[in-house]
Symmetry: C2
Subunit: 301 residues, 2 copies
Amino acid sequence: MSIERVAIVGLGLLGGSVGLAVAEHLPDTATTGYDTDPDVRRRATELGLVGTVCETAGEAVRECDLVLLCVPVGAMETAATALADDLPPHAIVSDVGSSKQAVADSLGRTLPKHAIVPAHPVAGTERSGPDAGFASLFSHRWCILTPPADADPAAVAALTGFWEALGAKVEIMEAEHHDLVLAVTSHIPHLIAYTIVGTASDLEEVTRGEVIKYSAGGFRDFTRIAASDPTMWRDVFLSNREAVLEMLGRFTEDLTALQRAIRRGDGEALFELFSKTRAIRRSILEQGQDDARPDFGRGDH
Amino acid sequence: MSIERVAIVGLGLLGGSVGLAVAEHLPDTATTGYDTDPDVRRRATELGLVGTVCETAGEAVRECDLVLLCVPVGAMETAATALADDLPPHAIVSDVGSSKQAVADSLGRTLPKHAIVPAHPVAGTERSGPDAGFASLFSHRWCILTPPADADPAAVAALTGFWEALGAKVEIMEAEHHDLVLAVTSHIPHLIAYTIVGTASDLEEVTRGEVIKYSAGGFRDFTRIAASDPTMWRDVFLSNREAVLEMLGRFTEDLTALQRAIRRGDGEALFELFSKTRAIRRSILEQGQDDARPDFGRGDH
């Protein structure tokens, strides 16, 4: 099974980046694209995010070997319905959504099950829209495939090859486990960041101007995450509700213990936790998942 | 009142950076330094963090116009006691601690009150120790002075000039207000980051390897903050307990509301919060307190 034509539905940060990455790494692969927003279609054409921007989803997928749905998780079912009638029988259907059980369910309602191989490239920035895309977004990042038990192995192999060609490292995982892992490494961090930024902007004793001015003390890192696309993240929390609530429960429990340690003046408990967390940082740097420069090279030194 | 000789007590990230910044921006100002750890004194000598590394705190401050205590907040009183007998009568005593009421109390117990002008440069990285210092750490960052009501205005003016010379912007604030503002913009973000990294490393269902592998989804930003110096942060939470607990209460309240919105599937409430938080990010970028590049320029694009 070879992928010679890729259709990208949804031309924002992710869809645009896939289009640009294909052009760079797989120059012989043709790309078509579609977005429900006419302004995004126009901008995608100007930016050359894909070879051909089509006026309907059906037109975009009509001759493709792979469709990638790059829309918010809550829009997957509508997007799948819009292209179902025009999908070639041999085509693989995949996506880039951040929760995987919900996506498998949404796509399975309208599309042939054997064709569906949900995927999640663990990559992104706080930007969104067609202007946010760039070709190297997936380079050295992990892409998790969550094929259902009845997925076609040839389709899984072809999709694996596709993502590896774009520079990603591929891992196969069960959808349920993916949703739990990502709840910890991505969804809860986003939820917490949104919350603290919201809390800080609603205080009476501290002005918003002060919060902004003194944000270099740590707060600014949270604002970056909390600037992520609201629609995408609303859908993530609604679609991965159970795992998010489970992990949020653990987090709250740990935070309460720490709160008690502060109230009691238990310096030993604080020191112990603050020492332990350094080891994880070291491993992340060793595995190339972050930049070791202080401030990620933000400073001018 | 002119500052011609600066004594730096504590030669880690902050103390070392002050020494290097003085050498760069105020080449005519002499610096002496001291650290209780002989290994740090040796390393500071090798790195040339200050003009002269002394063997005692008394020796370091004996001829200075300004002493800067760059030690964890919990070590301020001991450090002040060690130099009290050798402090010249005209010298200004300041510090770089992250909580300011506690520092004013600690220093006031052993040193003459009119000499004390506590300060907090809102700058840092997750690194610590003498090798972590660099001259541009304070460039374009805010430095908050919290002079008590009876502080000598000439000392406040001289210290303001000193920090401005190192590239910082200076703001005067009451110590109590400082502690509340920093609880929001720095202390709570650190506490939350330490907690989530701790939570993630203690799970049974998700391995530590998985947490590290998929950290690019948001978690890695928290690990950077959670790699900060454990002693320094233990002391911050113990010394700014009231403001931290107050702000933590607000945060927990907001998080509980969001948790309920997720449980109820209230997408509108989620969308509303996630949209609001973008405005704060924009302001931080406009005021030059962060880098607008996606991933802070981490990527290779």
